[in-house]
């Protein structure tokens, strides 16, 4: 299983049907011994990006599709940006607020289905960032799937004013959500 945080040389594999108009990087790699078959064997990603941030918490977003004929679960993720990554879902808590929390058991994507990772919704939470992620930087994200294989993609960083959601148990965490709201402060520099 690939656990390194360094950037890999990427093999651009364009997902079947994905429009290659925008130069978005869709990279699928697996470290299993599976030989490539004509039918899809793993997930594909597209339109991936990370919110630029000076330090603290941020998140990765994008679309993950499962073109295979079997359900696939993303059980964990690592990134080149920090040592701490969690898979988060958005839920309504007892007081009716939408909050985010780690999803138990990971994201299961049904055969033929897809998962949107987006601000205000499901996302890959990146915590403990110490080196700034600057707009235009590339962050490498590696997903570990339930069969032990990994899927790697590159997510360019973009300035984004949103994605300032509440986190369940905010008070107990060292980093509050204000860390994600860095853009407004930067503007005054």
């Amino acid at each position: 299983m690939i656990r390194t945080k360094k950037t890999f040389s990427l093999i651009a594999v364009l997902a079947a049907g994905a429009l290659a108009l925008a130069g978005c990087s869709t990279t699928a790699s697996t470290d299993s011994d599976d030989t490539m078959e004509s039918t899809a064997t793993t997930l594909t990603t597209s339109d991936t990006w990370v919110k630029a941030i000076d330090s603290g918490m941020t998140a990765a977003f994008g679309m993950v599709e499962n073109p295979t004929d079997h359900d696939i679960t993303i059980v964990s993720a690592t990134t080149s940006a920090s040592d701490m990554t969690e898979l988060h879902e958005t839920l309504e808590n007892e007081s009716g607020d939408m909050v985010m929390q780690p999803i138990e058991g990971g994201f299961t994507i049904p055969a033929g289905g897809m998962l949107m990772l987006e601000p205000g919704g499901n996302h890959i939470m990146i915590m403990g960032v110490t080196d700034p992620i600057l707009a235009g930087d590339d962050v490498t994200v590696t997903l570990t799937l339930d069969d032990g294989s990994t899927l790697e993609f590159t997510a360019p960083a973009k300035d984004y004013s949103g994605a300032n959601e509440n986190y369940e148990g905010d008070d107990e965490m060292d980093m509050d959500h204000g860390d994600m709201d860095h853009d407004d402060m930067e503007m005054d520099e």
């Binding site: 987006e118 919704g121 600057l134 707009a135 300035d159 503007m187």
Partner: protein, 420 residues
């Protein structure tokens, strides 16, 4: 609640397909209006598309609005591309702390935005993706001022910098110069505005707007796109332009005698020319035509019958006076024209009237010209017009900027990558 989407057939259309429906359809020449649909809330699930949507059923957008102009290529789009109905020209100034590495990141982000938006797709992290689905021949063209070239440590073309001062100029610094030019053109004003907003948001941590100038022509589809534009004096503006797609155009526009990073590029001059419409009102039709040396209806030279006729500067009337007067705009321009003409791609502007001003108009021309070499093709003509051109009575240059337009890029590259 948030859950991965079930493989329901009605949901096999991904968000991308929903939002990119227009672009995908344009790519194959089909019109799937139902594909231009709205995605449901932010819960992470995807709203199924409704082919029976009352607002799209049976509606087929015209080519001028649905068509996408290829972004990648040897040259940037938005130059040889037929001029769209609406445009905005924006100059940005880089923040003081931006270095070469920041510049590369900036151009990478902006290039990706432009590539997606011109294809009718939302930019990455586009918070208003529904505004991106009508490309309307959108083009985004980037240009560099001297500071960008200096940051990259490359030699600048000899002509890159402010134009020489002209006697008729009354330049307002608020409309002059800049580090980075973004020219956005489309046949839909909302597409132009959304594109500008997206690019400026993404540029914000690198650069701030210095000026922004919006312009318009007749609406797309209202007349033959090959027709010469009319300015607010009612004149045909741009007669004699090299025709896109010809050798004449290539020789006139694409720079050759430039540093290697500029090969395949061109130069861009934007002159904001205020037009005194109130003063022009006092001039009768004959006087207006003699001022220019052309008729107003067809644009034919006073010595000819159709717009394309070459002006005969030697022709005399029965009293022996030149048919095209000595002070006529066309004579002054023509006599000082280089072998390679500049290519004009201008727009009208009509800004809000100034409170309390006597004039009821705040209007003019965004004189936009592309040429291989500013010093050889633009400056000599402007010098001649500066010293004698009756049209100067009613026109005043109030803004001026020159940019180097780098070549286009290939997929995976970015505009300006030849600098690094």
């Amino acid at each position: 609640m948030s859950e991965p989407v079930e493989p329901d057939t009605s949901r096999r259309l991904s968000r991308r397909h929903l939002l990119w429906g227009g672009a995908a359809a344009a790519g194959v020449g089909a019109a799937t209006a139902a594909g231009v649909s709205i995605v449901g809330g932010t819960s992470g699930s995807i709203a199924p598309t409704s082919s029976g949507d009352a607002t799209t059923a049976g509606f087929t957008p015209q080519e001028a609005f649905e068509g996408a102009v290829p972004f990648y290529g040897a040259h940037q789009a938005g130059i040889e591309t037929p001029a769209q109905s609406n445009a905005v020209f924006i100059a940005l100034d880089l923040r003081d702390d931006i270095d070469a590495s920041g510049l590369r990141r900036l151009m990478g982000v902006l290039t990706d935005d432009a590539a997606r938006l011109t294809a009718g797709q939302p930019a990455l992290a586009d918070s208003e993706p529904e505004l991106a689905v009508i490309p309307a021949q959108l083009t985004v063209t980037f240009g560099f001022g001297p500071r960008v070239v200096e940051l990259a440590g490359k030699a600048a073309p000899s002509w890159l910098g402010p134009l020489p001062a002209f006697g008729i100029d009354q330049l307002d610094p608020a409309y002059c110069d800049g580090d980075l030019l973004i020219q956005i053109g489309a046949n839909d004003p909302l597409t132009v505005t959304h594109t500008a907003r997206m690019l400026l948001k993404d540029a914000r941590s690198f650069a701030l707007p210095r000026w922004s100038q919006s312009g318009f022509r007749r609406a797309a589809g209202a007349e033959n796109p090959a027709a010469t534009m009319r300015n607010l004096f009612g004149q045909l503006d741009g007669t004699g332009n090299p025709s896109p797609g010809t050798t004449e155009f290539s020789e006139a526009v694409w720079s050759t005698d430039v540093p290697s990073w500029m090969e395949g590029g061109t130069s861009f001059v934007l002159r904001r020319i205020a037009m005194d419409l109130d003063g022009w009102d006092k001039i009768d039709r004959l006087g207006r035509e003699e001022t220019i040396g052309r008729t107003l209806d067809t644009g034919a030279p006073l010595t000819g019958t159709v717009e394309g006729d070459e002006p005969d500067l030697e022709a005399k009337d029965r009293l022996g006076f030149p048919v095209i007067p000595a002070f006529a705009h066309v004579r002054r321009a023509k006599e000082n024209e280089a072998a390679n003409k500049m290519f004009r791609r201008g727009y009208n502007y009509d800004d809000t009237v100034l409170t309390g001003a006597e004039s009821v108009s705040n209007s003019g021309l965004l004189f936009a010209a592309f040429q291989a070499d500013v010093d050889k093709q633009f400056v000599p003509v402007q010098k001649a017009l500066d010293t004698l051109d009756l049209l100067n009575t009613w026109t005043t240059p109030v803004g001026s900027a020159v940019f180097a337009i780098p070549p286009g890029c290939q997929e995976g590259g970015y505009i300006g990558d030849t600098l690094f």
